[in-house]
């Protein structure tokens, strides 16, 4: 569980988010959405401890983030940032480094770390990538390796910053499916996502940010129906009946005459 209490966050002296209160629950994918510059990434960076809050606090499993050592934090929360270096390490070694927070003095990974890494790579369906260098993998394969790394980290909370950017449509679905399975294991999965279609299909909860605070909060379909999506993004969410169930189409708002 991840909680924000009266959180004010931003860069330098300029807050992007003001007095934000939010509790993110285990077993769900929560998507943080909103227009560019609304503070989505700021929120995620503050939650991950990269950016110290300007006010208020972040609670990780009930304890203030500021009181945890980097090692304690990383045992409870994994963070997959956006834009990353592509190291020349093998996929297996990357996943093994997911166990970094569990290293103790001789600084060598132990058998249980190897087992956890191998199981995590198998869980994302990436055993065959094990000995491949990260630089030789496709974007989708790399993202799977990173998700395996987060799984090997064995945390209750997983933060993902735009995990589907630059991926093809199949890889995007695969990544979201993995995220759904992570949430199914009882983890608190929090992601910043621009893609409303994917959000609608996979998220249990959407938090839309605007003007430094929470503009809407709830299941995605409800936010489409009650006009929140239209209000925050300035696009129309049109409900389309299908043979089975229904779906939403996002279209530009008609221009006022």
């Amino acid at each position: 569980m991840l909680e924000f209490r009266h959180l004010t966050a931003g860069y330098g002296k300029r807050p992007v988010l003001r007095d934000l209160d939010l509790t993110l629950n285990p077993g769900e994918i929560t998507v943080i959405g909103g227009l560019n510059g609304c503070g989505k990434s700021t929120l995620l960076k503050t939650a991950s401890g990269l950016l110290p809050p300007l006010g208020g606090q972040v609670l990780l499993e009930g304890r203030p983030l500021s009181e945890l050592s980097p090692q304690q934090r990383a045992r409870q929360m994994a963070y997959l940032p956006q834009g990353r270096n592509v190291p020349e390490l093998t996929a297996f070694r990357m996943v093994l480094h997911g166990r970094f927070a569990y290293l103790s003095f001789p600084r060598q990974y132990r058998r249980e770390d190897f087992d956890a890494a191998r199981a995590a790579l198998a869980w994302v369906g990436g055993e065959h990538l094990s000995e491949r260098s990260m630089s030789s993998l496709s974007g989708g394969e790399r993202q799977k390796v990173y998700i395996a790394m987060a799984l090997a980290q064995d945390t209750g909370v997983i933060l993902m910053d735009e995990p589907t950017t630059y991926l093809d449509i199949r890889a995007r679905f695969e990544v979201m499916e993995l995220a759904r399975r992570l949430a199914g294991m009882g983890k608190t999965v929090v992601m910043v996502l621009h893609d409303l279609d994917l959000t609608l299909r996979f998220a249990q909860r959407v938090v839309l940010l605007a003007e430094g605070g929470v503009a809407a909060d709830g299941p995605p379909a409800r936010l489409c129906d009650d006009g929140s999506v239209e209000r925050v993004f300035g696009v129309a969410a049109v409900k389309v009946p299908l043979d089975r169930g229904e779906d939403y189409l996002f279209r530009p708002l008609p221009k006022a005459p």
């Binding site: 991950s48 963070y79 270096n85 970094f100 630089s135």
Partner: protein
């Protein structure tokens, strides 16, 4: 490590490291044996066993060859491992102690020491401080100028030029210091003796530094994934970065304190080793240390023998051998980027 699962590629890498170790031992043996007066393996063995420093062979072995060989191996290993660390921490393939001013900082400090006739641990310590100051300066400048991969190297090049100019100025004003020799400027070992008191402290520092780098290989790999990912994995990024940069400065500084501004080892050996064994620091660091030591020992040997009785600084040979080799490696890598 006994009990841990190893993959087939790990076995392959272990063989490569053993091969590099054999190369190093062979280079060391040749470096000890060959010179103006060749020593036979039997003579070397006898000198080693008896510790005899009275016979001609014994004196040559203990006072000339052994210190020189040790200096070559240590300098090669120190500069190569320093390059490995800098390339990973600054995530820039062009980062190397001779390019971003680390060697120049150490060189300036050593020159100052020579002006004041200092010796022993003082020189090693000063060289470390000089290298550390250069690394800190480059690191800060890179932050100020935008911290992109390019600005690190660009600010390093500028710092390098500045520090070298300062050294040159000192040499112009104090032409009698030992540091005026070409040997120091391009890097060489003709001035190395076991009695000068400058060598052994530096060798001890390098050995300890390489061991510490090996101990920190996981930290180095995690840091090479980028600072945000490293943070997420629980690495205290700032402290770790500072520690590793200081270690790189220590290794380069200790090397420069006795071999001068030996360039290129710190750039090419990490690349060569990476193309052989991959970027995993557990393997890359020992491989670089072994290859660096062997390469410098062989270059020094060539520098001593090829134009005997004249002797060229080893740095010249390193450039003649290293530059074409490095270019070949670049062309080859472009042809087929397959990393096992």
């Amino acid at each position: 490590m006994r009990d841990l699962p190893t993959s087939s590629s790990d076995k392959h890498r272990r063989l490569l490291v053993i091969a590099a170790l054999l190369c190093l031992l062979l280079a060391a043996l040749l470096s000890v044996a060959l010179g103006a007066v060749p020593l036979s393996p039997a003579q070397i063995w006898e000198s080693l066993l008896t510790g005899d420093r009275t016979s001609a062979a014994g004196r040559i072995f203990w006072y000339s060859r052994l210190p020189r060989t040790a200096a070559c191996l240590a300098a090669g290993a120190g500069l190569a491992v320093s390059g490995c660390i800098l390339q990973a921490v600054l995530s820039n393939p062009l980062a190397a102690p001779n390019i971003i001013g680390v060697n120049a900082g150490a060189g300036l400090a050593v020159t100052v020491c020579c002006v004041f006739s200092a010796a022993g641990w003082v020189v090693s310590g000063a060289a470390f401080l000089g290298a550390l100051a250069a690394v800190a300066l480059v690191s800060c400048l890179a932050r100020l100028t935008g911290a992109s991969k390019l600005t690190v190297v660009l600010s390093g090049v500028a710092v390098n030029a500045l520090l070298n100019a300062a050294s040159e100025t000192l040499r112009a004003f104090f032409p009698d210091t030992a540091m005026s020799s070409v040997d120091f400027r391009v890097g060489g070992f003709s001035g190395v003796t076991g009695t000068g008191g400058r060598l052994w402290p530096a060798v001890i520092i390098i050995v300890l530094g390489v061991l510490l780098a090996l101990l920190l290989s996981n930290e180095l790999d995690v840091l090479s994934m980028g600072e945000t990912t490293a943070h997420g994995l629980g690495l205290p990024v700032r402290q770790c970065r500072a520690l590793l940069l200081a270690l790189a400065a220590l290794l380069a500084g200790a090397s420069v304190s006795f071999c001068g501004l030996l360039g290129f080892v710190g750039l090419i050996v990490p690349h060569l080793s990476r193309s052989l064994i991959g970027a995993d620091s557990r393997w890359l660091i020992p491989m670089s240390a072994l290859c660096g030591g062997a390469l410098v020992a062989l270059c020094d040997l060539a520098a001593r023998l090829l134009f005997a009785p004249y002797e060229l600084p080893a740095g010249i040979f390193l450039a003649f051998l290293g530059a074409p080799f490095f270019l070949a490696l670049l062309i080859h890598q472009r042809g087929g980027r397959t990393h096992a």
